[in-house]
Point group: C2
Chain length 314, copies 2
């Protein structure tokens, strides 16, 4: 494996955890924070973190480091403009939870960067540098974009960084990633919000006082900070519309059945089957791959579609 | 407290737990099981359980015992016909998760019974006699119907049985109970089913392989046995339609906002507020009451509406 240096833009939960994990794996790591407070905290913990984004990016250009953008989606254009000004052809990835919108931003604001999108699927309910941990990515899925035309050399860098952090690589086309997370991550947040709002809509406190198991589980992620949920869901608008329409269609059909025949069997059985299918999924197969030969990215995408993971080179 | 004898019809999870808890509390307990196998299991555990419903009910009539129906809603009419034939004026309650439909059945099939509806809100994912436990009701809410005109003497019996089992009594009108559980118990099951079906609807295994936290929590109750969910939800059709329409309206409005402005703030913030309101609810106040004086049942209903519980007599 190469020991490529890592420049992390943004020292929150994900960026801060990435710095810790990469340093623990022996990489040279530096980064930036949006506030002087956070930079000072990180420096007190022994990390090379500055608020001077240009300086960090200049160093990345000189060292041919992999730049990892760990900032919220709305801040990306501003950061990408600095990339284009200071390190225009750098090796570039990100940790944002949507992939098409980020790729569009990169194409627009830093079109010369050698960009391969990423999405480490790890997190806690907390945020900020202090909440970070070198073990956050242990055993997690790290989606690595595998669209045709990507720079294979940067793909290799990113896969090796993910493995160094203890994660497993799931290759996926950017749009397929966005459709998948719309269904299994963004829609759950929106249905939890709807359920919590309906549960709290009663005229008195009887309903909420009786709420327990099914309501507690079904609304748990409605407790997430609204800004995080909004950044995530609103950034995935197109894919999310499809998932919401699917849910609306099923809920509407169920409403019709309840009102007419009173029967809910179709809904309940389809849900039970879906949950069983998820619970019964086999362990992902751990695959070793090569980036040489014909259509390596197409082969990688097939691995992700099968539900398998990439763990090393052949 | 009186030490009223208890006749439990149905020796499944709830009925079996009730027999164990009531006997542990020093009550005289006998009951029935639908199958000879279950009756034999219960007898092997030292309980007086028969498959002869008429014999058990005859004994209840002679002893003026409290009869507790712990059978699924679809079986109720048949059991109530036996009540009307053998113990027509008995003290009667039930443990079914809807209250209006049961009251309607009682009025139709056993109209002379002294009936007060009940709903002990306890359960596990398992079922059957063997899954029962004397501690199942410890700390649980036991909703006791508090509609005007109910027999106060039977109300007292049922409250004292609930307390003897370690539960706290939540008084509520039958229709208010049904509206509340539609929102916080039945709707969660239906949204979980919709989410599980959408998550499993992808063309390949990428989405399910990435599903974790929010999907796992949001679909947990979709793993419940479909027959149990159907009996519960279909028996609460009218109240459930209102809750489903509320959810559909919110989801549809959110769909419109996502498609037009792309903004989800109203949905996400309302959900966050609802979850916070539930999580921040104060501990229920433990109230002691009297059944004498003016409008005792109206006073009881107010306690439930405030989110408080009844724990004993004044």
């Amino acid at each position: 494996m190469t020991e490529r240096a890592i420049c992390v833009i943004g020292a929150g939960l994900i960026g801060g955890s990435l710095m810790r994990a990469a340093e623990k794996a022996g990489r040279t790591v530096w980064g930036t924070a949006a506030s002087a407070d956070t930079a000072e905290q990180a420096r007190a913990d022994g990390f090379d973190v500055t608020t001077d984004t240009d300086a960090a990016l200049r160093r990345a250009a000189e060292a041919d480091a992999l730049v990892v953008l760990c900032v919220p989606l709305p801040v990306l254009p501003e950061v990408l403009r600095r990339v284009d000004a200071v390190a225009p052809t750098c090796r570039l990835t990100d940790a944002v939870s949507v992939k098409v919108a980020v790729a569009d931003d990169v194409a627009r604001f830093a079109p010369r960067a050698r960009y391969v999108g990423g999405h480490p699927m790890a997190g806690t309910s907390e945020s900020g540098w202090a909440a970070g941990s070198a073990t956050l990515f242990d055993g997690a899925a790290w989606v690595v974009a595998a669209d045709d035309g990507l720079d294979l050399d940067v793909w290799r860098d990113l896969a090796e960084l993910a493995w160094a952090c203890g994660a497993r690589v799931v290759p996926a086309a950017a749009d397929e990633h966005d459709l998948a997370v719309a269904r299994i991550s963004h829609l759950p947040h929106l249905l939890a919000a709807v359920l919590a709002a309906v549960g709290a809509a009663g005229e008195d406190d009887l309903a909420l006082s009786l709420a327990a198991g099914s309501f507690a589980d079904g609304t748990r992620v409605a407790g997430t900070r609204p800004e995080l949920v909004l950044a995530m869901c609103e950034g995935n608008r197109d894919a999310l519309l499809g998932a919401v329409d699917d849910a609306l269609g099923r809920l509407g059909a169920m409403r019709g059945a309840l009102a007419s025949t009173g029967g809910l069997a179709a809904t309940v059985r389809a849900g039970h089957d879906g949950r069983q299918r998820w619970a019964a999924a086999r362990e992902p197969q751990a695959v070793r791959v090569t980036l040489t030969g014909r259509a390596p990215l197409a082969r990688l995408r097939e691995i992700g579609r099968r539900g398998d993971v990439v763990v090393g080179w052949q």
